[in-house]
Amino acid sequence: MAESVLEVKNLCAWYRGTGVFGNKTRTQALDDVSFSIAHGEVVGLVGESGCGKSTLAKVITGVIVDTGGEVAYDGGRPQMIFQDSYSSLNPVKTVGWIIEEPLRVEGVIAPAERRRLVLEILDRVGLGNEYAARKPRELSGGQRQRVSIAASLIRRPRLIIADEPVSSLDVTIQSQILDLLLELKHEFMLSYLFISHDINVVYQICDRVLVMKDGRIVEEGEVESIFNDPQHEYTKRLLNEP
């Protein structure tokens, strides 16, 4: 087994757009990003909005393809949990359908067994069987995020990328979801790339932190050392924000 679950080397990514005069523009969103995530590690990715955090997530999961550099992962493709559970769950489908879809697309497991796995994982994220028949809009924000977690886990990936998974939730619900993520991490032997702008949340659950600014990683280190002894000016500023 490889030592790390994710290796990113010299990653660059661009956004294409059209300028004011109809000219083609190409904005660099990621600039020479390199890092790795070890098995069982929770790595935080912090930075202001617009610094390239979400772009990095989309490049790693293959949503954005206009990139340079290397992304290598161990095990299946990394799965993703999005911030806005309202738009990340298809509104016309039932919870059961949404969680089953990754297996259906994979097409390896028989339908009856798939449904059994769906109910099993639903139960594991703290939702009863009766939730399988509900639509996302009938659930609360925390419940929807549990559904997202279940859908991302159903194929048993080794790495999950969580893009601000709790930032749209109440504080009490936040800690429930964070606890769930930590429990699941041990049970399913997961690693997380945890994207957040909330320094406190990162401090709670991460082992290591990457600090990103303008598409570059400007500082990297253990949680304790980053929080107690930040080196980069930008990191100091992030930590001092209310």
Partner: protein, 267 residues
């Protein structure tokens, strides 16, 4: 929605149900033979025997309205089916993939929409000849761009939503994303477009038949009946009124139904 009943939906469904059952019953039998000419009984007023009176050839107007409405409905439904299916396919593909193909189809659609649709249909008819099936083809093509545009808009809106990203991450194929993941989300908008398109198709069929290009005599169509009844507007007003009211009811039923569906989805 709670407490406020959806009257549009109820009324629309009721009118449509009545019209449809009349039309369907006409397939089995009508009160009189719609094409049987009875010269001695022309332009008689509504009576117990001829509920809506007779026309200038002594034919029973009620029977002709039933058959004519069926014919109009058939043309409108077939027209909308062509327009909606082709429009869904074109709109879905261009909206989802974008790029130069999108530009090409949308500009082609703009060209078609820039002409008055009746005029363009007339040009097509002059090329392929009049008749019921040719009317369906001509009107069907006219209806494609407006459907394509509506469907495209929905796909452009949905393709950057997180649930579509999520589908890509799990390796879903483009066709499955388009038709299984996105299409049901576009359904309310498509249904409303079909209701509106259907009304336009009924009117367009009536206009084409009014101009003598659609259903050919002696067969009945609501548009043709309107055009024939013109000369007898004062001597036999029931003739024009019967055909006119039948068109109004057909359209009213479907547009109320469309609005009702829209209101239900927004609730």
């Amino acid at each position: 929605m709670q407490g406020k009943r959806n009257y549009n939906l109820i009324l629309g469904a009721a009118i449509t149900a009545v019209m449809l059952s009349l039309i369907l019953s006409g397939l089995i039998r009508t009160p009189h033979d719609p094409n049987k000419i009875n010269a001695g009984n022309s332009l008689s007023a509504p009576s117990a025997q001829y509920l809506l009176g007779t026309d200038n050839f002594g034919r029973d107007i009620l029977s002709r309205v039933i058959i004519g409405a069926g014919s109009t409905l058939y043309v409108a439904a077939a027209t909308v089916a062509i327009g909606a299916l082709a429009g869904m396919l074109i709109g879905g593909l261009t909206g989802y993939f974008g790029g130069w193909v999108d530009e090409l189809f949308m500009r082609a659609g703009d060209i078609i929409l820039a002409f008055p649709s009746i005029l363009l249909a007339l040009v097509l008819i002059s090329l392929i000849g009049p008749g019921r099936n040719n009317i369906i083809i001509a009107l069907g093509i006219m209806f494609i761009p407006s459907f394509a545009r509506v469907v495209r808009g929905e796909y452009v809106r949905c393709r950057e939503l997180d649930y579509v990203h999520s589908a890509r991450i799990i390796g879903t194929g483009n066709m499955r994303i388009m038709f299984v993941h996105i299409l049901p989300n576009a359904a309310p908008v498509i249904l409303r477009a079909i209701a509106i398109g259907f009304n336009n198709a009924v009117l367009a069929e009536a206009s084409m038949s009014y101009l003598g290009l659609g259903v050919q005599p002696p067969d009945a169509s609501l548009g043709r009946m309107l055009s024939e009844s013109q000369s007898y507007l004062f001597s036999a007003p029931w003739y024009a009124l019967s055909a006119g009211i039948a068109i109004v009811l057909l359209i009213l039923g479907f547009s109320l139904l469309g609005e009702g569906i829209g209101a239900r989805d927004n609730a």
